[in-house]
């Protein structure tokens, strides 16, 4: 994942509702409490308690689509690292401040504030998303939704693969995935 981050993804939409918690929603409390930080383990359990089929069947390139206030609660990075480990994109009507900070840090490929999507994407729809431009093509509905992409200032971190990789590329000496 330390290579180039893809600006676009084509995949299935996995839809989630409003007010999804970070700890206790995106990631089990048990993982947070016992301090599990291995991305492989976190990825396996990503959003599992809410949708076991997502944890089992989603593939890299698929896209999580959520309602308002995604990732509420504590500022713990197990949740964002779990999403990252799945290699999926993320589009939210809105995202909580805490999760937004962590999501940029983890380098999630995302459109965090997309009120335009409300009512226009269903679970299972095929999406073709350009995260850099904010353009979402809903292939199932044959419709295009234009959203506000991340500003350049933040895209720099995401394009580098997250803040740790951004630092590593800018100042570091070793190669490889700095998150592991």
């Amino acid at each position: 994942m330390s290579g180039t981050v893809s600006e676009s993804m084509q995949g299935r939409c996995w839809k989630f509702g409003d007010d999804i918690l970070n700890d206790g929603g995106i990631m089990d409390f048990e993982m947070v409490r016992t301090g599990v930080f291995d991305p492989a383990i976190l990825g396996k359990h990503c959003l599992e308690s809410l949708r076991a089929d997502f944890a089992r069947d989603s593939v890299p390139g698929d896209i999580i689509v959520t309602g308002r206030n995604f990732g509420r609660g504590q500022l713990h990075d197990a949740g964002p690292f779990a999403v990252r480990a799945r290699g999926v994109g993320l589009i939210c009507v809105s995202m909580s401040r805490a999760f937004f900070r962590l999501a940029v840090s983890a380098g999630l490929v995302m459109i965090p504030f997309a009120p335009e999507i409300e009512g226009r994407i269903n679970d299972g729809d095929k999406l073709d998303v350009n995260f850099r431009s904010g353009s979402i093509r809903n292939l199932t509905r044959n419709e295009t939704i234009q959203t506000q992409p991340l500003p350049d200032f933040l895209w720099d971190f995401v394009a580098a693969g997250g803040e740790m990789n951004w630092l590593a590329k800018k100042y570091g000496t070793a190669a490889g995935d700095a998150h592991v």
């Binding site: 089990d28 048990e30 409490r33 500022l75 900070r101 840090s105 803040e163 630092l167």
Partner: protein
């Protein structure tokens, strides 16, 4: 147009004349704070890619607060590594065992957080530091960037002005007021915002009580919470003389607030957060009689000296009910020493409480985690199912007085019965 406290603090930290809500800036924090769970993890990630040096190590505070008592093999190894790394890097302040405390409290108990400062932490609860007129912002894993560069990127937040007036009735504590406020504002209005508190009820609060109030705002998503500095802040500054003169940062009269909220707490009764989240609020009377298995007085939110005093006032001359565990944890060694001097620890011992010092403990299930089907009433931060142990346990959040009263009766109880 004028600027708010947060805008002024951020403008100074970004070496700018002014900043505008919504824009992204690079800012240099005046103080940075980490603890035993985040520091080693971030440092080891840095070292793995050849980023060895901490920038501005002198401004960095590290405290042992999450796992002071762990005997886990990985923890033992990590602790030794941490101590060595802290020494090597010349970290400004290290609160090791015996002098430790929860990072959000020990920095205030030592007078290290000053009015007008920008404080950046890794851990969630740093908006609490607004109790002395500083801007505390939590950055999670983004703390790594600050460790290496000495700077942080931030989006400038909007500020909401919150006026709290009225005189609290006896038995109604800062925690009750805080709980009432988050329950009223709810989960989204304050997200990304800085709340700026003033009013007669705020003026009547100690630094510790203000810490509780600012801390509680974290759960409605704030970026920061600041109490307008005043006489109480000035007294705090005098208690801990500082190398450079303090400057109180206040909002200009023509500053732009996104909105203004008013609370009158004169008729408020003790409040409680019901499962499954802090902003699900009701008066204690609504759930009085609910049986409990554990009671906890502690955490960055509810383990300060004022909380310990409130718990002891209820517990004095009483015993914890049969079949109930009461855990009391002063948030810092400073609060512990003060509680000893005031005879509060003797009250806890006589009541039959389990005691630890300067650690988060049950708040995140690290001491006495809840079992399946158990119910706890706690002064700690959050009540998501599973936070304190089993996902099939139930957590209520309330003031130290309410928690202590409930520990004595074995069921959720209004503390005013004990204060007559």
């Amino acid at each position: 147009m004028g600027a708010t406290i947060a805008e002024k603090i951020l403008a100074r930290a970004a070496a700018r004349d002014r900043v505008t809500p919504g824009e992204y800036i690079w800012a240099t924090p005046d103080l940075t704070v980490a603890h035993d769970r985040d520091y080693p993890r971030y440092r080891q990630r840095m070292k793995a890619v050849g980023l060895h040096k901490i920038a501005a190590a002198a401004k960095l505070v590290v405290s042992i607060d999450h796992r002071p008592y762990s005997n886990d093999a990985r923890e033992i190894e990590t602790r030794a590594w941490t101590r060595n790394d802290i020494k090597e890097q010349g970290v400004g302040t290290f609160f090791d065992l015996g002098r430790n405390g929860i990072s959000h409290n020990i920095t205030v108990d030592h007078g290290m957080v000053r009015p007008g400062m920008l404080v950046i932490t890794a851990d969630t609860r740093s908006p609490a530091l607004g109790c002395v007129g500083a801007l505390g912002i939590a950055n999670g894993s983004g703390f790594i960037v600050t460790l290496y560069t000495g700077k942080t990127w931030l989006q400038v937040p909007h500020t909401i002005k919150v006026t709290v007036s009225g005189q609290a009735r006896p038995g109604v504590l800062s925690r009750d007021i805080s709980t009432h406020i988050i329950g009223t504002i709810g989960g989204s209005k304050a997200d990304y915002r800085v709340l700026e508190f003033s009013g007669t009820a705020m003026e009547a609060m100690s630094v510790e009580e203000r810490h509780t109030l600012c801390n509680a705002m974290v759960d409605i998503g704030v970026k920061g919470a600041i109490v307008v500095p005043d006489k109480v802040t000035a007294e705090y500054c005098r208690r801990f003389p500082y190398a450079t003169p303090d400057t109180f940062v206040t909002s200009d009269t023509d500053a732009h607030f996104e909105s203004e909220l008013h609370f009158d707490i004169g008729t408020l009764e003790p409040q409680i957060s019901l499962p499954p989240e802090p902003e699900n609020v009701a008066p204690v009377s609504k759930v009085a009689g609910q049986k409990i298995d554990q009671a906890f007085v502690g955490s960055c939110m509810g383990g300060k000296i004022d909380d310990l005093r409130a718990a002891a006032a209820v517990l004095r001359g009483h015993k914890v009910a049969q079949g109930v565990r009461l855990i009391v944890i002063p948030a810092t060694y400073v609060a512990y020493q003060q509680a000893l001097e005031e005879g509060l620890m003797q009250v806890f011992a006589a009541a039959g409480a389990q005691v630890a010092i300067g650690t988060c403990g049950p708040c995140c299930g690290l001491i006495s985690p809840l079992g399946d089907g158990e119910t706890c009433i706690s002064t700690s931060t959050r009540n998501d199912p599973g936070r304190m142990g089993s996902p099939n346990s139930t957590i209520y959040l309330a003031s130290a007085a309410t928690v202590a009263a409930s520990a004595v009766t074995g069921m959720i109880s209004d503390p005013r019965e004990f204060l007559k």
